[in-house]
């Protein structure tokens, strides 16, 4: 009984002491900062680049950071924060990952038979993989396994494909791919060039039927600056992308739209049946 009273008494006393000290000596807290801190998700994930939600909130109040860098916040919350800060409302661009390669078993040739660990990163160590095109997707599923949302499918023909409706643009696949084939691009872009090889057109074509041969048909038929040539590779300008109909002019089919397909009937087995 005595112990209980002593414990209670000590707790109350200390609580009282802290309360009094905070009341009399507490620093004035900025009401704006408090309001913004309420809206923060509190996950402290660091995706915004700051070491925690508190730091990001403080930076926004000090105007050294813009709202919209937080992927864990809903659009609504971002608008609320913008209104509190008196900043013009920013729309956060939704991004998706895209695997910039069309070279599946049907289109791409192989120069060797790879019989090793079933992981793209390991296959990379053996002469950059078994495909003729050294820039192409190995289809062994490292990205599919890295995706926490199951958005990447390895087709039965051993090509990695991202399903844009499932992709949350967390960036794990971007880090995992040893060929750096995956990039995060705006979700609103209607078409992409599914090829990453900077080789000469004829060389690319012999390695893969789906490659971009650098014929410039897309560049010529698109609006000004909507498509660019990066050496022998055409690239979409994601600031001002061309319409989806442009895909018709591409002779190899490297330029096409990212229509979400339902997942194939066979489960993505990460290339176990190579």
């Amino acid at each position: 009984m005595q112990a209980l009273l002593i414990l209670l008494g000590t707790g109350l006393l200390i609580g009282l002491a802290i309360g009094l000290v905070v009341k009399f000596f507490g620093a004035e807290s900025d009401p704006l900062l408090d309001a913004i801190n309420e809206l923060m998700p509190g996950a402290n994930c660091g995706a915004c680049g700051f070491p925690g939600c508190g730091s990001y909130a403080a930076a926004m109040v000090k105007q050294t950071a813009k709202p919209g860098a937080c992927p864990s916040m809903s659009e609504e919350t971002i608008q609320k924060i913008c209104r509190l800060l008196g900043v013009s409302e920013e729309k956060r661009e939704r991004k998706v990952a895209v695997v910039f390669c069309s070279g599946d078993d049907e289109k791409a040739t192989r120069r060797a038979f790879y019989n090793g660990v079933n992981n793209c990163r390991d296959a990379m160590q053996v002469a950059a993989g078994a495909k003729t095109c050294t820039y192409g997707c190995l289809g062994l599923g490292a990205c599919a396994r890295a995706c926490p949302f199951g958005a990447i499918e390895i087709t039965p023909k051993h090509l990695a494909v991202v399903h844009p409706d499932l992709c949350q643009a967390c960036g794990k696949c971007v880090q995992t791919c040893p060929k750096k084939l995956i990039r995060l691009v705006p979700a609103s872009a209607p078409i992409h060039v599914f090829c990453s090889s900077p080789d000469k057109g004829a060389l690319k074509r012999s390695a893969c039927k789906g490659a971009c041969i650098g014929c410039r048909k897309c560049v010529n038929n698109a609006g000004e600056n909507q498509m660019r040539m990066n050496g022998f590779l055409a690239v979409v300008n994601y600031g001002d992308p061309p319409p989806a109909e442009l895909a018709k002019v591409c002779p190899t089919g490297a330029l096409r739209s990212n229509i979400p397909q339902p997942k194939s009937a066979t489960l993505s087995d990460g290339g176990k049946n190579v």
Binding site: Q2, I6, T10, V21
Partner: protein
Amino acid sequence: MGDYFSLIIGAILVNNFVLSRILGICPFLGVSRSLKTASGMGGAVLFVMTLAGLLTAMINQWILRPYHVEYLRTIVFILAIAGLVQIVEVLLQRFSQPLYKALGIYLPLITTNCAVLGSAIICADEGYDLLRSTIFCFASAVGFALALLLFSSLREKLELAKTPQCMEGTPIALITAGLLAMAFLGFAGLGG
């Protein structure tokens, strides 16, 4: 006077809190990547440990012993230390902005630091009076800061050294800590 001297030398060198008693390893490994953060942490621990030592000795002497409830000391000491750290943080923020900027982030880390609780419990076990407790805790904190400064300097040099890849980072740091602890064994027997 010589009594206090041997107490101080004992706490700093012979029975160093981190390297001999193996207390407070969490901030020892966590904050020791650079000399700057280590000195910040050392300063904060010095501040808190001394005050906590005094406060807990007072609680022990005037509340726990008279009512024969020494068994409550773990909970009560933790409560007291946590409360103290909160109060110190608020006062620091109010009265010394430069000190708050330097030490402020480390204060929550010290709240449940076993080194702070450990010094309080050792004082209670050894039956030190108020003055001895305070001096002992101050000296222990100096020892903690010393170990932290030494270790962080070593770690800064380790970053530049060529270590096998499997040992980089924490593994080699742990081995170094062990070697440092062995080195401090050389002080055994000093000061009686």
